[in-house]
């Protein structure tokens, strides 16, 4: 168990190092970072001065080492557009993104678990068919299109929800739903499949044999075990949720990291893009690490293996 945790931690550190390398190398994709960071009309002199000032003339390993050393201290350079250090700019927008993504994840779970359980408990029934239909549609719908259709319906036609921005609870509903839809679909199928398996296990039969009501069998005995894979999948999908946030924040002009990063990408504000890629990917690694450790704690069977 201790060895497992140690290995898992070491892997996470290694992957974060890799993440830093990729974030660093992003600006070198086209060969010359000075060229992409400066406006198109820059003169030869400006480019030379810029290169010298940013240390782009040093050998790559030297530059990477400098990038890493600064990154450890939270210094990812100054935003070319905002003239401020990029990390605080991103940190200031993190709560908005967290609010959105956590709401979306909760929404997905809250909808998917009952739907999946109902479908599994009534396998082959109309409810099952309906749940699977919803899941299949939810898996195939482009979330940004759903977002626009929701805006058209709830904001423009009925005027019950605000079209964009961040404010009260009403502002969160549509963006969170748009991010949640694909995950909800995935989780519904997952819960259904695992529940169907769990419901055939011996201890569930025993529960029924004891004369427990079906509701008690399903919710108290079967559900807890069916939820274990759910934890892993939700954790693994965190990166996907963050990706969804980038698109959906842009649609709703939700003032989070996603919208900010998207603007930085379009403005070629690479210190911000680097910082944002590094932070978001590191967050994904840490979440997955937490989930793996949580998993060991949740399911004692894994500790042995």
């Amino acid at each position: 168990m201790r060895a497992y945790i140690a290995t898992r931690l070491a892997t996470a550190v290694l992957v974060i190092l890799g993440v830093s390398l990729v974030s660093f190398l992003l600006t070198f994709l086209t060969g010359d970072p000075a060229e992409i960071m400066l406006p198109p009309g820059a003169t030869e002199n400006q480019i030379t001065a810029f290169r010298a000032a940013w240390g782009f003339d040093d050998p790559l390993p030297v530059q990477y080492w400098r990038f890493l050393r600064r990154a450890v201290h939270g210094d990812f350079g100054v935003s070319l557009r905002h003239g401020q250090s990029s990390l605080p700019l991103i940190a200031a927008r993190l709560p908005a993104t967290l609010q959105l993504t956590v709401t979306a994840m909760l929404l997905a779970i809250v909808l998917a678990v009952p739907l999946g359980v109902l479908a599994a408990a009534n396998r082959g029934s109309t409810i099952d068919l309906l749940a699977m239909g919803v899941a299949l549609l939810g898996q195939s719908v482009p979330n940004f299109w759903l977002a626009i259709m929701m805006i058209l319906l709830f904001a423009v036609s009925w005027g019950v929800l605000p079209t964009s921005g961040r404010g009260g609870l009403a502002h969160v509903v549509m963006p969170a739903a748009a991010i949640a839809i694909n995950l909800m679909a995935l989780l519904t199928r997952l819960v259904r499949t695992t529940m169907i398996e769990v419901l055939t296990e011996d201890y569930v039969r025993t529960g029924r044999g004891k004369g427990l009501r079906e509701l008690a069998v399903v919710t108290r005995h079967a559900l807890p075990n069916a939820l274990i894979p759910l934890v892993t999948v939700v954790g693994l999908q965190f990166g996907y949720i963050l990706g969804g946030a980038i698109v959906i924040e842009t649609v709703f002009t939700w003032p989070g990291v996603g919208l900010f990063t998207m603007q930085a990408i379009l403005n070629r504000d690479y210190p911000v893009v680097q910082a944002s890629v590094f932070i978001l990917a590191t967050a994904v690694v840490l979440i997955n690490l937490t989930v793996d450790l949580l998993y060991v704690w949740l399911d004692p069977r894994i500790r042995v293996g």
Binding site: V15, V22, L29, S140, P142, L152, M262
Partner: protein, 289 residues
């Protein structure tokens, strides 16, 4: 051979009617993409400012000349949709193929050789999985430029890991099989063993993943295009049509509604097909995909 193919397609449709529906949808989209010039009512790029924002034919002021209406530049929505299928299919099929080739190779090598090669490959997989893929794709496409080739490469980078993981797992198991061990003991070359005994056994799984990945890549490509980083204009793409229609949502909702439906129906069809294939070829994959 052909009879065997027909027979297995027949089995697929009989076992899973949804897979049949999926095959039908995918077939239609493929026909649209291939025969686009024959199917359209007007040139998809031609602007005609005398007919801007015309509604679909069943609405008042609509005409069969522009069956699904026109956009803000008077371009025919239906014709743009048909041509848009080309971009979606080309990018997703090519990217999924490229990703599959890279991922299968990586998975075979990692699983078969094991040791440090395995460790290195699997850490790269972990690393790649850590990035929100769309973020990586956006950043790279913004830097390299949004050409068809770049989009295919970038999308492939977001898909190879899935094959690598599954193929590695299967290869690990296959390597331990007595048959493979025996052939190895007889002195067969590793590449020969991989090509003759391992690869054929992982292909059904690869095919299932490939199908489902094509669907995922279509969604991602349309998102990129929606955000302005897809194949550049004037080439019509579903994602950009959707984005362009946003400003006219209230007066001309059809500009955004139809491309969305096209994406959803195509992805749905491919998912139906993928699910059916999975149940037929390799039910064990249910857990992993």
């Amino acid at each position: 051979m052909i009879r065997a193919h027909l027979w297995s397609s027949f089995r697929l449709v009989r076992r899973s009617p949804l897979a049949g529906v999926g095959a039908l949808i995918v077939g239609l989209v493929m026909v649209a993409a291939l025969a686009a010039p024959l199917l359209v009512t007007s040139d998809p790029i031609d602007q005609d400012l005398t007919v801007v924002l015309r509604p679909p034919f069943w609405m008042e002021d609509g005409s069969v000349r522009h069956p699904l209406g026109t956009d803000h530049l008077g371009r025919d929505v239906y014709s743009r949709l048909v041509y848009g299928a080309r971009i979606s299919l080309t990018i997703s099929v090519l990217a999924a193929l490229l990703g599959a080739a890279a991922g299968v190779a990586a998975g075979l090598v990692a699983g078969y050789l094991g040791g440090w090669v395995d460790t290195v490959i699997m850490r790269i997989v972990d690393l790649n999985l850590a990035f929100p893929l769309i973020l990586l794709a956006l950043a790279v496409v913004a830097l390299l430029g949004a050409s068809l080739r770049n989009l295919v490469i970038v999308m492939a980078i977001t898909t190879w890991m899935i094959y690598a993981r599954v193929v590695r797992g299967l290869t690990l198991a296959l390597r331990e099989q007595e048959l493979v061990q025996a052939i190895r003991a007889l002195g067969a070359h590793d590449t020969r063993i991989i090509a003759r005994h391992v690869l054929p056994n992982v292909l059904p799984a690869v095919m299932v993943i490939w199908t489902l990945e094509v669907a995922r890549v279509i969604l991602m490509e349309s998102a990129l295009s929606f955000l302005g980083l897809g194949v550049p204009p004037p080439t019509p793409t579903w994602g950009r049509m959707l984005a362009e229609g946003r400003d006219y949502l209230v007066v001309a909702g059809w500009i955004s509604i139809f491309p969305g439906i096209a994406i959803m129906v195509t992805v749905l069809g491919i998912n139906f097909l993928g699910d059916g294939l999975r149940d037929l070829l390799d039910p064990r994959l249910r857990q992993q995909t």
